[in-house]
Symmetry: D2
Subunit: 369 residues, 4 copies
């Protein structure tokens, strides 16, 4: 009885610590009927070479405002084995329960961790990670595919494996051709890889950004100041394992890294329409100028920069448009302005959004009264 | 022609600098049909002893997310007179135009600046500030009242005027009795005055918080980090001069200072209902416990602390609930819990909200499934 | 060979992640020849009910700028036992090695975790934690004392164990009388206990502040924004296990919680002299006023408030004096000022420093030319 | 008498508001015997088209930690003329007095504001700004030169004047050849100009970064979060008008913009040696690896990135090294490492420092035991 009471009190502190902190808002409006799920699909715990318990990963995700995580332990590398028991499915089992309590979707997965080629790959939605623990890496991929996995290449630009530059080797072509590579990390931890984004665009691979975190997210990234880990935005029909899987196989993702987004022109365009609300600002408009109010309805920070068209029109200043803020943008009405302003549309550039590695997304701002 | 072009280019930079930065969100949901206007009704410019141009005050208000300001120059003290021209209405005229462009409501007003007693008072909604420039302070108050002003006592606890403690002197009683004192600053600049809040509650004076800023708001307060100047929250039928006036005379205000709110129990209660959305969290609930999700829908930071009732029920931890975040709050279900939980309502305390100087607001959290 | 290479590459990432982030400055100058060690002497890992690996605790300490930690697992409560092996000394062994690499002093210790009375206690500097795993709590304390432990009472105001108010019970008197209680936590996690500080002052117990962290320090506290966990400042002859022990037994500590310091008047006074450098500011002084420059040389944030003496002298404004900043403080020279200014010393109050629970530390500012 | 007292009390608030806030640390160690002065040499007040009083500019500089400012009103453009009196020297006179009180060096100067070509130029150290108010721009430059001015071209890449791209026109060559152009802004307000840096390197022009602020520094830049306005770092023999002049004519400057530094390889190299202290870390070193401790002693944020040499050596991770922090950098000792490690020197790149527009500064890290 005495012991039970002790346990009860301590237990309370532990359980309460499961979601001990507040979940901060990380709001992105729905995009054409799809929910925008915030996902990190690559991370580690003490069950391989990470430094935290699986619950901790769920807590971090809850607090940062994520919706989906996958804990992807190394099959081949478990340095804590002497101290930590459990097979290759154990980390997932623990995380799944914590995820249920917190409303975080936890995807089963594992990291196939091989020397280059082919390097490291994550297999998600697998049904038994233990079966991936085989000597030949080709067998591991075959088994993952057999289990219906979504498979992606991790940190292809990691210099520890490809010191000189990221190379798409015959082994990668083989995996791609045989249906064993569906996605690729264009960003991982503290790096992003322009060349990998080009591969993804050329080969229609799903673009992902993931943290590959081993330590603590809040140590590595200044989350309390509004920064975020690398992550993948998924356009999904709902918040479920199945919908995540469908969105990944359908390439409906945008990779996010260090405040920048990397995705196709199509999806960045749809996202902009959902995120920025544009309305006339009659009070600030007059005979000589027309002023629009742009409201960033999301928790993403944006910078709107001029294009050569907008400079010619006299709308020349870059405009910071942080999360949940609004700006006034004015256009002086001159004769030549009216001519240049085709369809009343000013083109601006979103500095942080990239449909190609070296480009920023161009977005139309409709000026009307 | 040459000169015109020069002017045009320079002018553009100036005009564009009018609202050059983004307006950050400072969202508070409507409260029982009233809009919650964020107002600062006490500030200075170079037209008395402030250090900025009137436009600057509008810019600060725009960027910080305020809705209403009053520039209240000292009638009796104008140290920059040799360099700056203009009568007592000039600052308002300039600010009003800038306010129009930015959508900020600018209230006409002036500060009657006399030695103690009676000290300093602001008169708002006056029609001609020049008429307040008279030798006898009583005449100044009479004139303000004649113009239909809303009059409030500024920084009654300012130690430069009342070094030992704030005193309600016969002159103040006289002003109050004669309809020349409708409100009072419970907070000003970097101070708040518990005794003044008591006076306000006893005498039904409108409670105000104002910045009395002479320098720069963004230097004094870390606005970019989510802090705010002292201000007054007004519950108004719409965003207009008339609605502001009606709300002030009707005492529908809450003073805000350093993240804390000071107001009547009634209005703090209504505000809580509007700000915090409470829903069941079925996933995290089980046979042994019931979990509720509390979502702070506003940009106000809250801390929920336990009360003796909630401690007895086993809900004992203070919970930070920052702007736009959510928390899970769990209750273990024990036999005695069910008895103690009258009407399924747990009482918690909002640390930052004060219906009386020495108390925190108690709010009910309904637990249901 | 293949496997070795794989291991090498992965290993690198792990090892590098040991101190992967930068160590931020948390500077406090030496105080009368003593180093000021920043210590957290109460924390948990997966080896009891914490959520992180021991290395993680060392990393957090390295990054936050701490010097000393103790990992104090519950002897009586190990919910992860099925997954995590190792006896009661294992967490310390792992942390000690990580501490060696990072230059963090790791103190051996354990938490004796019993129902109230006597509640939870930490025993530091023990030589074998396993011997504390005995049925009777009195035997556990005897064994700790036998091993030469420094023993302190944890979170005496924890409401889960003493819901109504913190009580000093006969069992605590017995422990105190028998040399089994040398210190006490005046602050723990997210609470501080005024009554406990009174006990400490009356009974000459070493005052401590500790995090008792189970999850992640950087999630719980906004370290990147300059906040800190609760901790204990130790005035020690050097940075070593022995010097920590000597300082603790000699009561040379100040507890730090939420930016506030709790300690004896003597040590707070010495600390102020070391932290704030005061020099004349001849440029800003003139015939009518004398101006001093106060420089906060530390990473502690201070607020200097007026006292009745300084108000009478005309130095009336609270002055924020953040980490590594300086302020000018001016005194107008009037006849009565010169009389009141005994020995040219103005008394101010450091709002965040407390020699007693309800008081702020009064410090002398010498005004000279 | 009555009035005097009123004045006294109000005056106190104003005077105290002169340096009302704390001066935050912006520490950069001396570089080879030179003090590193933080200067902003381009700004405006209500005396031309700015929005603040001259004292306000001094306050901002004091609080942000700057040492030197120049208020450079437009000679040709004064939109507030109807409200604000005073000749072209008035703003300087007011600022100089405020600067004296605060210990900020205020440089006399004015902005020659002409259409392109030649555009806008600042003339510093002039003795009478009124004499620059002449119809022909060439006469204005001649007069400035006659007064011994240091003259620099402002925002050469400003798109309002050169929409397509920044051009070095014959008029600029003429000014350069005739000793009327000594420096150039490589950064201004919210822009920096790669092409201008190339011009500066080719023509040995003094490189400058300035804010050109019209509104409020603390609104535009998140100073409280450690950001800074664009500024010029001057390597000067002391903190005086004369030393500033000598340093500017001698080209001993580095331009700072958005956390990045632009200067010559020589001065960036010297600066690195002063800023980063490198010592062996014996505790973390062992037979297999050697670890160095790098301490950033300044308030500048740095990022150390790998070079191809450091990648080959196995030191591959970018390392954030924020203000006043330290990092461990380890090198594994392998046979081929020892060969590659010429003179024990690892080359790293400082991401934020640029000896040429498209390059980062390469710095040597000496590894020793």
């Amino acid at each position: 009885m005495k012991n039970n009471l002790i346990l009860l009190f301590i237990l309370f502190r532990l359980v309460s610590s499961a979601q001990e902190g507040p979940r901060q808002s990380f709001y992105i409006p729905d995009v054409e009927g799809y929910k925008v799920l915030k996902a990190d699909l690559h991370m580690h715990t003490v069950f391989s070479d990470g430094l935290v318990w699986p619950d901790f990963r769920v807590n971090e995700a809850w607090q940062e405002g994520l919706d989906v995580i996958a804990i992807t332990e190394h099959i081949e590398y478990r340095p804590n084995k002497a101290d930590v028991n459990g097979d290759h499915n154990r980390a997932y089992q623990i995380a799944r329960e914590a995820g249920h309590r917190a409303g975080i979707v936890v995807i089963p997965g594992s990291e196939i961790t091989r020397r280059m080629p082919p390097g490291h790959f994550n297999a998600l939605f697998i049904t038994d990670a233990n079966k991936l623990d085989v000597p030949d890496w080709k067998d591991a991929f075959r088994e993952a595919r057999r289990q219906g996995a979504f498979i992606f290449w991790n940190h292809p630009g990691w210099k520890a494996q490809q010191p000189d530059s990221a190379l798409w080797l015959p082994e990668h072509q083989m995996l791609y051709d045989s249906g064993c590579m569906h996605g690729i990390e264009v960003a991982n931890y503290n790096e992003w890889y322009p060349i990998v984004m080009r591969w993804a665009l050329e080969r229609n691979l799903t673009m992902l950004g993931n943290s590959d975190i081993h330590g603590g997210i809040y140590q590595q990234y200044a989350i309390h100041q509004g920064q975020h880990r690398p992550m993948s935005l998924l356009f999904a029909t709902d918040k479920s394992v199945e919908a995540v899987k469908e969105a990944l196989f359908a390439h409906r993702t945008v990779a996010m890294f260090n405040g920048h987004l990397y995705g196709t022109e199509e999806w960045l365009n749809k996202l902009f329409k959902a995120v920025v609300k544009i309305t006339p600002c009659p009070e600030a408009s007059d005979d000589g100028k027309i002023t629009m109010l742009l409201e960033n309805q999301s928790d993403l920070n944006l910078t709107l920069s001029p294009t050569s068209q907008s400079i010619a029109l006299g709308v020349i200043y870059p405009e910071s448009l942080p999360a949940r803020s609004m700006v006034q943008i004015s256009l002086r009405l001159k004769t030549d302005t009216m001519k240049a302003l085709k369809n009343h549309t000013v083109l601006m550039s979103v500095d942080e959004w990239h449909p190609r590695p070296e480009k920023s997304q161009i977005v139309p701002i409709l000026f009307c009264r």
